[in-house]
Amino acid sequence: MKRLNPLALISILAILSTSCGTLGIGGGLKIGMVTDIGQLEDKSFNEFSWKGVQDGAKAVGGTAQVIVTKDIADYKQNIQQFVDQKYDVIVTVGFLIGTDTLAAAQANPGIQFFGIDQFICVPADANDKECKGKVPDNYQGLVFNEAQAGYLAGIVAGTITKSGKIGAVGGRSDVPPVVNYIKGYENGAKSVKSNVQVLVNYTEDFNAPDKGEASAKTMISQGADVVFQVAGLTGAGVLRAACNAKVWGIGVDVDQYLSLPDLQSCIVTSAEKRLQNAAGEAIKRFKDKGKQSGNYTNDATNAGIGASPIRNLSPVPAGLEDKIKQATEDMKSGKLKPV
């Protein structure tokens, strides 16, 4: 940086003053969150990240503010608004905003950035595919161990299937979290019933509920009696097909029993990323330990992933909840690898 940005300087001072325990004017950390495209009340990433940011702000005695992004082109300027207003911590939500967050972190070393669901990859040069470049000291990606969450969902599916056939519909086969969820799911189901058959289809589309419905319908006609969706809006069609055929559906990312009230009757559980927990904890980490960098994995060891409460099953099959608990413990201790 050739010229020191005066705003950045002020933010550094602000952070120094708070981390020394002396309250700045206005009191506490100023925490800003920039959402992914869409709405704040999306019952998914934006909403739960925001709850986590608010929890974090409360825990550290700070204030929280949010900007809702309307368009991909607005990411940069939304982040800049918080930079200009001398915020101490900026949290950005979603994989897509990662590039702009990285640039902002490099330009504003005095501000702490957290990227939810962003795996930070800084290539050392144009040919580097292994992310050997240096991640800025003030930017931490909050990533999740999807395979572990998928594994827990797989345990549920393997336990409740009567036909011995289960299905999974993925949004895209080139999005690693989607693939990880499904791999974990397959292994989880096989840990319960070693001969279970898992039908997998990638629709290569996150926004086509009719395709999701067609996929699930085909799986169900093949005998699958549990379907797991990892496909965004496409997945709503998957769960719809499950409801229509009176078989079980498993949700993803958040507790979809709550987020999709239309489909409550057939959702048995969801493979969850605990976004709220992850965002809140990140802010506390910053307050307690200062600058955070690199990729921080939320997994079984820090309650970063999990399975939502079992719904609609009465009684819950004997031992199911124990199996989930045991698997979580084993993943925590490292004894159990989901993939």
Partner: protein
């Protein structure tokens, strides 16, 4: 190199297609329904001489307002009634938007491409805004979906007849109604006075006018009817297929519908076949990974990235529009506003 390798693969592929047919057939119609209804909307519009690229927006608006009606009423009047009211509202909204498009294209003689584009952009904005304002904060669900009709299992399990019956009858009412609309419109367009007049104002409005046909009235009527069909397509998306509304959920179906219409050379039956073709391409992409083929064929089919299967309908669109099906000629006065002599 085994000389018989290729013929054997072709044979295996044919056998594979036959074995997966029972899985393919029941899902094709539902995938084709919004495309077919959109294409019929296009046929009605363009046959009378009005280009409508706003079908996408009409579908989206109808999908939203249909859903909103169900959402608002299902607790007071019950789900079933609310869904049917929602469908009626969706069709009504489609017809109203048709009226708007007719007014812009016929009376005001605005540029029809721009009018359609405006429709698409406005629909995205209006539905996105109202969705955020009304539906999402409530945290409530909608009225659900119309339960699909189920054929008795004894019939569905019949070896050959079962899947064919399932293709047409194991569906929701809107999907099934498509077949009726296609036949009625095909008959209407080529065998009735209304059809003759429609084609006349689409081919040569001046001649039609000279013979005493009210060009404006005929175009208004067709564009409004077309809008109602696009509205039904919207209702299908929210009230029969998914039971929820998502921003921008039409996802380009209004445009693929136009390709189906061109494939079908502006005829109802042809457009329907075009929509079925797109539906089949999508369905094949699904079935190929859920019921993989065996042997060498399986190895080959598995080695093709799933993206190619997902892209199949779009590749088909390109192939079709590039003229593989032969030259497809639009109605002569398509997109040309008509002005009475002395008034222009």
């Amino acid at each position: 190199m085994d000389l018989l390798a290729i013929p054997r693969l072709v044979f295996e592929f044919a056998v594979y297609l036959l074995t997966v047919l029972p899985d393919l057939l029941p899902i094709i119609l539902a995938l084709a329904t919004p495309l077919a209804l959109g294409a019929l909307c296009g046929v009605l519009n363009e046959r009378s001489g009005v280009v409508n690229i706003g079908i996408e927006g009409m579908m989206l608006m109808s999908a939203f307002f249909g859903y909103l009606t169900g959402f608002a009423l299902h607790q007071t009047v019950g789900s079933a009634v609310a869904i049917w009211l929602g469908i009626a509202v969706a069709v009504g909204v489609g017809a109203l938007l048709g009226l708007l498009h007719a007014w812009l294209s016929v009376s005001v003689r605005a540029d029809q491409i721009i009018a359609g584009t405006m429709m698409n952009i406005a629909a995205l904005g209006v539905t996105g805004y109202l969705n955020r304002l009304i539906i999402t904060p409530s945290g409530r669900g909608g009225a659900g979906v119309i339960p699909p009709f189920r054929i008795p299992p004894e019939l569905a399990d019949l070896p050959v007849v079962g899947p064919i019956l399932a293709m047409f009858l194991d569906q929701g009412p809107i999907a099934m109604s498509v077949i009726v609309f296609v036949l009625v419109l095909q008959f209407g367009l080529f065998r009735t006075r209304w059809g003759l007049r429609t084609r006349a104002v689409g081919e040569h409005p001046k001649a039609a006018d000279t013979l005493g046909i009210d060009v404006f009235r005929q175009r208004y009527l067709n564009v409004i009817l077309g809008g109602a069909l696009a509205g039904l397509a919207g209702a299908f998306l929210t009230l029969e297929s998914t039971g929820s509304f998502q921003n921008g959920m039409t996802g380009g179906r209004g445009f693929i519908a136009l390709a189906a219409m061109i494939f079908g050379r502006w005829t109802p039956v042809g457009s329907f076949l075009g929509a079925l073709l797109f539906g089949t391409a999508t369905a094949f992409g699904v079935v190929v990974s859920v019921r993989p083929a065996e042997g060498d064929l399986g190895v080959i089919l598995r080695s093709i990235p799933t993206f190619w299967y997902a892209a199949l309908p779009y590749l088909l669109t390109v192939v079709i529009l590039a003229g593989v099906v032969g030259r497809s000629v639009p109605p002569a006065a398509d997109g040309v506003p008509y002005a009475k002599e002395g008034k222009a």
